[in-house]
């Protein structure tokens, strides 16, 4: 078995010091060492997007990112979207529009949508489709997700 390496990660504005095998992905370390199981996995090969997190604000597949590569960067997971008990407008919009059915792809899509709205506050449907095209959803047909992003966009920048 491989010796573990000490890793220092900044996740959701909090510092984590954990030990893990150096080949373990950010996905594994977030879920298994940091206890942040909100980040999901559907393939572990970069095909489904369920494991999407933000690295310095940009969406990445955490299953294709080594945890060690994330050192020195700010990682945001779904647990970091809300500020205290105040939810992000995307979260309330997803609830209102029924954009989360089984909820499994939802953390990844929320983060992809968050990154989109940060750089483009009023995206078109085509821009939304582009932004979440790396995240597979098997329940919604994506329609409710667009409606939710639109609702969140208008709440953030009315």
């Amino acid at each position: 078995m491989t010796d573990k390496t000490l890793m220092r990660l900044n996740v959701n504005r909090q510092r984590y010091e954990v030990a893990a095998a150096p080949h373990h992905t950010l996905l594994e370390v977030l879920r298994e060492e940091c206890g942040l199981t909100g980040t999901k996995h559907g393939c572990e090969l970069g095909e489904c997007g369920a494991c999407t997190v933000l690295l310095d604000g940009a969406p990445v597949y955490s299953c294709l990112t080594l945890a060690l590569e994330a050192e020195g960067h700010e990682v945001t997971t779904v647990e970091g979207l809300a500020r205290g008990s105040e939810l992000d407008p995307l979260q309330t919009a997803f609830a209102a529009e029924g954009a989360a059915q089984c909820g499994y792809c939802t953390p990844g899509i929320l983060l992809a949508a968050k990154a989109l709205l940060e750089r483009n506050p009023r995206p078109t449907r085509a821009e939304m489709a582009e932004a979440i095209s790396g995240n597979l959803c098997r329940c919604t047909g994506y329609t409710a997700i667009y409606e939710a992003i639109e609702r969140a966009a208008s709440e953030r920048a009315p």
């Binding site: 559907g42 997971t77 997803f94 059915q101 089984c102 792809c105 995240n135 409710a144």
Partner: protein, 811 residues
């Protein structure tokens, strides 16, 4: 029931918040102290005897704590008690690549992976059966020795209703078409996962992503030899299921066995490739449909034949086989109907129920054929359908009772929303229409019993909270919200006041599970029955307080009020306290059992449902004749759900169904090369991304069913069925080519256009009516392949097989 305060409103689901914050605990998110990680070793052979299996090297690995093989759990199991032909892990023989043969539990995942390569297995390969035609013709190979029927035939069904011969004699036009529906899989984004914990008190708890905790509970008892009173199954929130998590699976038993052996909790999570092997998805079906009509389009008779490729095991296959024939009759009036169904075994992952279970494939064939009939008769396809509608409150020729029936409305509304009647006719652009129906829950359980199909207990707490316990499994379809909404409506509170305990065999009464679109109808009625009793107790108490008769009281928004003067009210909490003071603890039970609906014939158990939902779809497509690429511009699905208990939820089910139907007709196929799955990854098996998915419009049609809760029927599966034929019909409308097989890929479109084919599809079983021809062709191609491998002849010499066939044909 004039005014409703919860039902029909666009409310967020009560359980949505945990999904939005990452706090929902799916099975793989569960971590327990001393947890071990399990992995399954899977067969590399499509069909073989296991001549040796040795765990000793794996057990010697320092990280490994325990391991097991099929021999440790030899009891037969399977979802349908009458056709149990599987074991948790393979015993002595494997029947598909990917079948689990052994399991290990280790201190971490890396060690478990390493240990798998230390298990010594030796296989003695057996000949394989990979297609329907081979399975029907080869007697020399038996996938299951104990098969009672023909060598590899799992089930054969023959049913006839009305005078079919006369029906065809009366017809002025008869169509006879073959279709092929390729297999495909559910591909929920969450991989199956199970965590078992056998504790010192001798009790076993299993957290698992299952749609059917009750049925799994029964199978665990049987296989593990542990009484059900000591087993607790907890269905964790399913990250999508679509039918793919409704069988008992090897990894669930293995996690339990390994936990019982080690006294430590064990987790087994499948990886994506393994999910493709677990499968239980859409059966590939070859079908022949003969339909007779009058000149005005009136159907006189239908003869439907299906051949299902079941894969290696039974799964729900007996029900699937019947479902291919059972539901064609509830949409259009069919006065005479004959159904022949045959399901065969092949050396591939077992097929089972996928959204629309068994009704999807025949609906595709039948709705495509209706389109052809309309063209033959010079009728508009919509008009042909409207002329043949099965009436509401009627009985079909195969004795199915139809109550509310909204197909006509659904067709009209889908046509209106899509502009179908005014569509432009231009080469390369087309619209297609189709209708369909689905059950609101199966009329019979899968094991014979006289008990309710769904039970619920509702309890009120003194602070105004409501507890609903019901064994339903939340698979993302919104069942927890359904339970909360019905209880809240009945009691006059809001869904946030309701605490739901579901999917737990120890804490909630039995509900048969989230399959066959049964939960809204059955659990909805059970919760309503329980809550209605508490409502009476509350109204009695409030009537005393307000001094008005009970009939003059209403309840909503946490108040019990005088209907004549709503400002005179008792707060809900005060009514609870008064009622509990008067009658004691406020708890009530409710249950639902469908009326006896099965007809008087063998095989009548599949098809009856307390109500049928109806759907219609119009698809608008463009076909690029240069590239063969089909672009769906828009899909409209109008769905008769009886009453939309929560329109957001219903629209979500319709849109999700439309998306999935589009994927089945244009993209998805579970196909094999030899016994090997060709695409067991999400990179190769294409699911539509946001950019592949067109605009989807959901139209809700309400018919207020007489027996559904507040008039509701199902919405989770039915809307998928019409999408598939509607797109196929739209492609015909655009380029004049009939695709009588799925999926319609760009390559097939290009090929058809290049060869000026009017139709792409099968012509029958292998070489036609005589299935023995399939064997001859098979032998010929095998010989050719062998010769090619030996380097003996020109691989392009096509004369060899055809000559051989000719000589055999004459002899």
């Amino acid at each position: 029931m004039s005014e409703l305060s919860v039902i029909g409103r666009r409310l967020p689901k009560v359980n949505v918040w945990e999904h939005l914050t990452g706090s929902a605990k799916y099975a793989d998110d569960i971590a327990l102290p001393r947890l071990l990680h399990g992995k399954l070793l899977r067969s590399t052979e499509p069909h073989a005897r296991i001549t040796r299996i040795d765990l000793s090297r794996a057990l010697a690995h320092p990280g490994v704590v325990a391991a097991c093989t099929g021999r440790d759990m030899p009891e037969k199991m399977g979802i349908m008690p009458s056709t149990q032909d599987e074991t948790a892990l393979a015993v002595d023989r494997v029947r598909y690549v990917g079948e689990p043969v052994a399991a290990v539990a280790a201190i971490d995942e890396d060690a478990a992976f390493e240990a798998l390569s230390l298990i010594d297995v030796a296989y003695e390969p057996l000949p394989t059966i990979l297609t329907i035609d081979e399975a029907l013709t080869r007697e020399d190979v038996r996938i299951h020795e104990e098969s009672r029927n023909r060598a590899n035939v799992f089930k054969e069904v023959h049913l006839e209703f009305g005078d079919v011969e006369q029906g065809f004699a009366d017809a002025e036009h008869v169509r006879d078409d073959w279709f092929f529906f390729e297999g495909n899989t559910h591909a929920p984004i969450e991989q199956h996962s199970a965590v078992a914990s056998f504790d010192a008190d001798g009790k076993l708890t299993l957290w698992t992503s299952t749609q059917v905790p009750h049925y799994l509970h029964r199978e665990l008892e049987k296989v593990l030899g542990l009484p059900r009173s000591r087993i607790r199954v907890i269905a964790t929130p399913n990250g999508g299921a679509f039918g793919g998590k409704s069988d008992p699976f090897g990894h669930e038993f293995a996690a339990c066995w390994l936990s019982m052996k080690t006294g430590r909790p064990v987790k087994i999570t499948l990886d994506r490739e393994e999910v493709f092997y677990a499968h239980r998805g859409r059966h590939p079906v070859k079908m022949r449909i003969r339909t007779g009509v009058k000149k005005d389009g009136a159907i006189t008779a239908v003869h439907y034949q299906s051949y299902l490729d079941g894969g290696a095991y039974a799964s729900y296959g007996i029900a699937t086989t019947y479902y291919t024939g059972a539901l064609l009759t509830v949409t259009y009036r069919i006065p005479a109907y004959k159904f022949d169904g045959t399901r065969v075994y092949t050396n591939k992952p077992p097929c089972g129920p996928k959204r629309g279970h068994g009704s999807t494939q025949p609906r595709y064939g039948f709705e495509c054929q209706l389109d052809k009939i309309a063209a033959d008769l010079g009728l508009d396809p919509l008009e042909l359908r409207l002329r043949n509608l099965q009436p509401a409150n009627s009985k079909t020729v195969n004795e199915l009772r139809v109550t509310s029936m909204g197909l006509g409305d659904a067709l009209e509304q889908a046509a209106r929303a899509s502009g179908y009647r005014d569509r432009e006719r231009a080469r390369g652009r087309g619209m297609g229409i189709a209708g369909s129906a689905y059950i609101s829950g199966a009329g019979l359980p899968i094991y014979w019993n006289d008990m309710p199909h769904s039970g619920a207990v509702v309890t009120l707490d003194r602070g105004g909270g409501v507890l609903v316990s019901c064994g339903t499994a939340e698979i993302g379809q919104g069942s927890d919200m359904l339970l909360a909404s019905v209880a809240a409506e009945e009691l006059g509170v809001v869904p946030e006041d309701v605490h739901v305990v579901s999917g737990d065999t120890a804490l909630a009464p039995v509900d048969l599970g989230s399959y066959s679109s049964r939960v809204t109808f059955m659990a909805g009625n059970a919760v309503r029955m329980a809550a209605a009793q508490l409502r009476r107790a509350l109204l009695d108490a409030a009537a005393d307080k307000l001094g008005v008769p009970v009939e003059r009281l209403g309840c909503a928004f946490r108040r019990i009020y005088d209907l004549r003067d709503p400002e005179r009210f008792v707060p809900f909490v005060d009514a609870v306290v008064a009622a509990e003071s008067k009658v004691g603890t406020l708890s009530a039970r409710g249950y639902y059992k469908p009326p006896k609906l099965a007809g008087d014939y063998k095989g009548s158990g599949v098809g009856p449902s307390p109500a049928y939902s109806y759907s219609a779809c119009v698809a608008d497509v463009s076909v690029d004749e240069e590239s063969g690429r089909i672009t769906v511009n828009k899909i409209v699905v109008a769905h008769d759900c009886g009453r939309a208990l929560n329109p957001v939820n219903v629209e979500g089910q319709i849109e999700g169904s439309a998306y999935m139907g589009m994927a089945e007709i244009l993209m998805e196929e579970q196909v094999f090369r030899g016994g090997l799955h060709k695409k067991p990854s999400l990179l190769d098996y294409k699911l539509p991304t946001a950019k592949d998915t067109p605009e989807l419009e959901a139209v809700i049609v309400e018919t207020i069913d007489s027996e559904g809760p507040y008039g509701a029927k199902e919405a989770g599966e039915g809307p998928l069925n019409p999408v598939i034929p509607a797109i196929a019909n739209a492609v015909y409308d655009a380029i004049g080519v009939r695709f009588d097989e799925t999926p319609i890929t760009a390559a097939k479109v290009l090929d058809a256009l290049a060869k000026k084919k009017a139709r792409v599809g099968p012509d029958g079983l292998a070489d036609g009516a005589d299935p023995r021809n399939a064997m001859r062709r098979l032998l010929a191609t095998t010989e050719k392949r062998e010769r090619k491998r030996a380097g003996g002849s020109d691989p392009f010499d096509l004369a060899v097989p055809s000559e051989r066939r000719k000589s055999e044909g004459s002899g």
